[in-house]
């Protein structure tokens, strides 16, 4: 089973066409291993991206270098998954 320890979901807030273009290029680059949770980019809508732990610092640097605002939406994806799984196991027991 694939684990997501240390993966974060960043909420990225593009503010310009340059930001949007940069995100589009990243989305098309499958090797980046970024997981876009919603698609389509505009300056009116945030983009949520799951970033593997190993890519986290590089991706945050990229965003900061390009002055693309972001916040951390989920700090550790695996923690949420563990909670979800525990709840399911409990429900199955019930």
């Amino acid at each position: 089973e694939e684990l997501f320890n240390g993966d974060q979901v960043l909420r990225v807030l593009p503010e310009s066409e340059d930001h949007i273009q940069a995100l589009k290029e990243l989305e098309e680059d499958v090797d980046s291993e970024l997981d876009f949770w919603n698609h389509g980019f505009s300056t009116e809508r945030p983009v949520d991206i799951r970033v593997p732990h190993d890519s986290l610092y590089a991706f945050k640097d990229f965003l900061m270098e390009n002055n693309i605002p972001f916040t951390v939406m989920i700090n550790n994806v695996q923690e949420l998954l563990d909670e979800e799984r525990a709840e399911m196991v409990n429900n199955e027991g019930l």
């Binding site: 089973e1 694939e2 949770w37 698609h39 389509g40 809508r45 989920i74 909670e83 399911m88 019930l94």
Partner: protein
Amino acid sequence: ERKTKSFNFAAYHNLETIYAFMDTLVASHPSLISKVNIGSSYENRPMYALKFSTGGVSRPAIWVDAGIHAREWVTQASAVWIANKIASDYGVDPSVTSLLGQMDIYLMIVTNPDGYAFTHTSNRMWRKTRSVNAGSSCRGADPNRNWDAGFGGPGASKDPCSDSYHGPYANSEVEVKNVVDLIKGHGNFKSFISIHSYSQLLMYPYGYTCTDVPDKSELHAVGTAAIKELTSLYNTRYQVGSICKIIYQASGGSIDWTYNIGIKYSFAFELRDTGFYGFLLPANQILPTAEETWLGLKYIMGYVRDHPY
């Protein structure tokens, strides 16, 4: 019926439990609901739609599907609740009773069963089908880029490793082909509604082009009114518009294909993400999500009933 009443709708369930629930629901309402096997998935899992019908032959019908993107768990969970809601409201809610007096409803709770099973066993973040791609180690295609509507155009990837890979050709994914065959074979669907999550949107065609559909004004008005109903419950904010204009250009989508074959009332929901959880919406939000979605869905269904074409 005892089992249906004790089913925990406020929890996420695996495929086997959902299929068992469907059997129980059918057994509890044998004169209203039947289980239609529309074919098998790539990994040979059966694909079922629940058919709600009070009789008649080739009645006009409404299609609702959930879970075509495997990881969007709140959609399958909401569809389970909605199935039970339709069954329990028939004969009680005049709107549902009247609807089923004139039309059939087909509800597909798990449209991508292989992907859904995979999210439970191997990768919670899996979105696509599980088909093998020749010449690639990456599996699956995005089943909502695989329909014969602008197939292979903008907003879909040619790369089998991408989450939005369109597949080798239109309808290459058997899960899509099975639905296409059912819709074509039936021939009298008046509405097609696909349920996704998240972002809180209600969309109508087109996605593969930013050109307006001829029925744009009506679809926008229906969508806006449906969202007014949906929002009335918990004030969840939705946007309404065409796929291309309110989110992005995306080719090969299901509702573009259904619209182009003449199913005017084609819509796609993107359900709620009220917290900062994305696809990991806590189970305690399943019921509120399903309840509010039902209000929007019921509005669209009632409108379709009252506006035959």
